[in-house]
């Protein structure tokens, strides 16, 4: 049985978290993500979970790292300024390979910016915010139902690949209310599981991986007394100064994700089958794009939308294929141009790539986007 509700995107994330089996949330209030913390403060104790409002953004990130080490599924939620503060520990979680989910409901920046206005200005921060070489996953919902689905997917990916997953929302999606159909009972939703060691504790090497390149991760307290560190470590988990260990760790952490792009990278194609011109847009900006494509089609223009659902790793193959298929690509994003450079790089000059960057506190209207699209494609 299911129920039909009218929910905000942020509330759908909460439902997704409960359904995914999240048992720990560490947070700090920040607009426009606060509803997630407020709602989980109420919901988690009802399922035996723990919510804690930490003293700052950094601490909330530290708390979920600690809680994840006990085997729990964990979440934190923030927005741009808080996301910046969390970055050192996001890098730590990449290096130590700690499964966790960070929700970033983006707002206008930099600095305090415009807290209640929509933006997609953290595209590059999500990928490169922390220092050093690192690899992680960022996924972006474009509807309230998708907030629920992608929250589940965030845990599936995070646990499978032992990697931080960023649920990269924007204020449009976080605060928009839409119809969503949810199961009455979450008990039948498959729960992501963390791989466990099959050797005896005495033989356990914390970062020794099989061909999946993902090491098993036992919870603290069950007999495998392992060491967690942000220092470069070898397969024993202990620091090693050797350059070969640094290279081996980096290579494995890269390949554990980038050898599985088919599993990780998702895009939606809308009206793309016979499309001659494409819009690339994601999250809140994609909502404008669906409508703009429909309007273009009514005018007889063969327009289509490619909507990246996975933002990082970048949809390299999909964009390359797109560049081989259409006559032009317009990237529409709510910032002054970030994702467009990735698209341009992947298109590699095969077709012109244009940018419709919107960064004035308001999402574009479909008519504005259509006008920019026609202008760019000289239609």
């Amino acid at each position: 049985m299911s129920k039909i509700l009218l929910l905000q995107g942020n509330q759908a994330v909460v439902e997704g978290a409960i359904a995914a089996g999240v048992k720990f949330f560490g947070g700090y209030p920040i607009t426009p993500s606060t509803e997630i913390a407020e709602s989980l403060a109420e919901r988690l104790p009802l399922v035996g979970g723990k919510f804690i409002q930490m003293e700052d953004e950094i601490a909330s990130m530290g708390a979920i790292i600690g809680a994840s080490l006990t085997g729990k599924k964990v979440m934190t939620a923030t927005s741009g300024p808080g996301f910046s503060l969390k970055q050192e520990l996001i890098g730590y979680a990449c290096a130590a390979e700690i499964p966790l989910v960070i929700v970033n409901v983006q707002r206008v920046g930099p600095s305090t910016g415009q807290p209640t206005s929509p933006s997609q200005g953290d595209i590059m921060q999500a990928r490169w915010g922390t220092h050093g070489d690192h690899w992680l996953i960022a996924i972006t919902p474009a509807s309230v139902p998708e907030c629920f689905e992608l929250t589940l997917r965030a845990y599936a990916l995070s646990e499978k690949y032992r990697v931080p997953v960023i649920l990269l929302m924007d204020e449009v999606i976080g605060h928009m209310r839409e119809k969503i159909e949810l199961p009455d009972n979450y008990d039948e939703i498959p729960q992501a599981e963390r791989k466990q060691p099959d050797c005896a504790p005495a033989d356990f090497k914390a970062y020794a991986a099989d061909e999946s390149l993902v090491p098993p991760m036992p919870p603290f307290g069950n007999g495998y007394r392992w060491h967690v560190t942000g220092l470069v470590h070898d397969e024993t988990g202990f620091p090693k100064g050797a350059g070969s260990a640094t290279k081996a760790a980096a290579d494995r952490q890269y390949h554990k994700l980038y050898d599985h792009l088919d599993d990780i990278v998702q895009v939606e194609n809308y009206c793309m089958e016979d499309a001659e011109y494409a819009i690339v847009a994601f999250g809140g900006a994609a909502r404008t794009a669906y409508e703009a494509v429909d309007m273009a089609r009514k005018e007889g223009i063969k327009a289509g939308l490619l909507r990246p659902i996975t933002i990082w790793p970048f949809a390299e193959n999909e964009i390359q294929k797109l560049a081989g298929k259409v006559k032009g690509i317009l990237v529409h994003e709510l910032n002054r141009g970030q994702y467009v450079y990735e698209v341009e790089r992947a298109a590699a000059g095969k077709v012109p790539v244009y940018s419709y960057a919107k960064y004035d506190n308001e999402p574009a209207t479909p008519a504005q986007l259509l006008a920019e699209f026609k202008k760019a494609m000289a239609l």
Binding site: K23, F24, G26, E42, P45, L46, G48, K50, I52, M54, E55, D56, I58, A59, S60, M61, G62, A63, I64, I65, G66, A67, S68, L69, T70, G71, K72, V74, E88, L89, Y92, P219, F220, G221, N222, G223, R225, W226, H227, V228, T229, G230, L231, F238, P239
Partner: protein, 276 residues
Amino acid sequence: MSMEQLIDKYFRPGRLPHIWCPGCGNGIVTGAIVKAIDKLALEKDSVAVISGIGCSSRASGYLDFNTVHSAHGRALPVATGVKLADPSLNVVVVTGDGDATAIGGNHLIHAARRNIDMTVVLYNNSIYGMTGGQYSPMTPYGSKATTAPYATIEHDFDIAELAKAAGATFVARATTFHTQLLVDLIAKGIQHKGFSIIEAVSACPISFGRQNKLGGPADMMKWQRDHAVMLPAWNKLTEEQRSGKFPIGLLYEVTDRKEYTEAYDELIARAQGGNK
């Protein structure tokens, strides 16, 4: 149990020798932690040792427990997550004066305020040792440091008073000279249900002692002997007599304040019972 036996039992094979300089007090403090754990006969699987960054924080890697060498200043938030998510674990936080009171100072007062059950062993060597001798918030006023070539003009924290004011329910201090006291206080701190902090006054002859002409390791331990005063004796001293000295022992303990994870379990029961 002899120290050799303790090392066999509680230190990870192949991880020694440690990185600490000759004469460093960190080994004494780390030894005191395992002696305290041994005294309490805690199962190794039930102990989580969580550290930050710095000389003292390297201790976690040597110890055969569930261990985390976290980021600079962040041992307490990570420890809070571990403890709240699994209250059955005995959580010991290993940190230094810079790690705990400068970059991690905010976390220290808030962990104390929550009265979450964990034991912080603060290795106070008066200096940033790992980076080569810069002043910390616990470097004594007027000391030299590589970043205070004209001597520091910043006043130092009394971390025991700070922790007490912030809500810690067990506050103690010992030195690497008073090792039996240190072991006893750490053991009592672990047994204490709530936030406990033990300041372990330690010597850093290389990065602090040399630039302040404090002599060698033995001289610095003699200084501890001559300047630390057991609390009952301290209480009898006049302000004038206390000058330049500091009290050691169990400085403060209260047991009537509810521990955080217990309070959380009650909250869960309340929520599930339908009461807000």
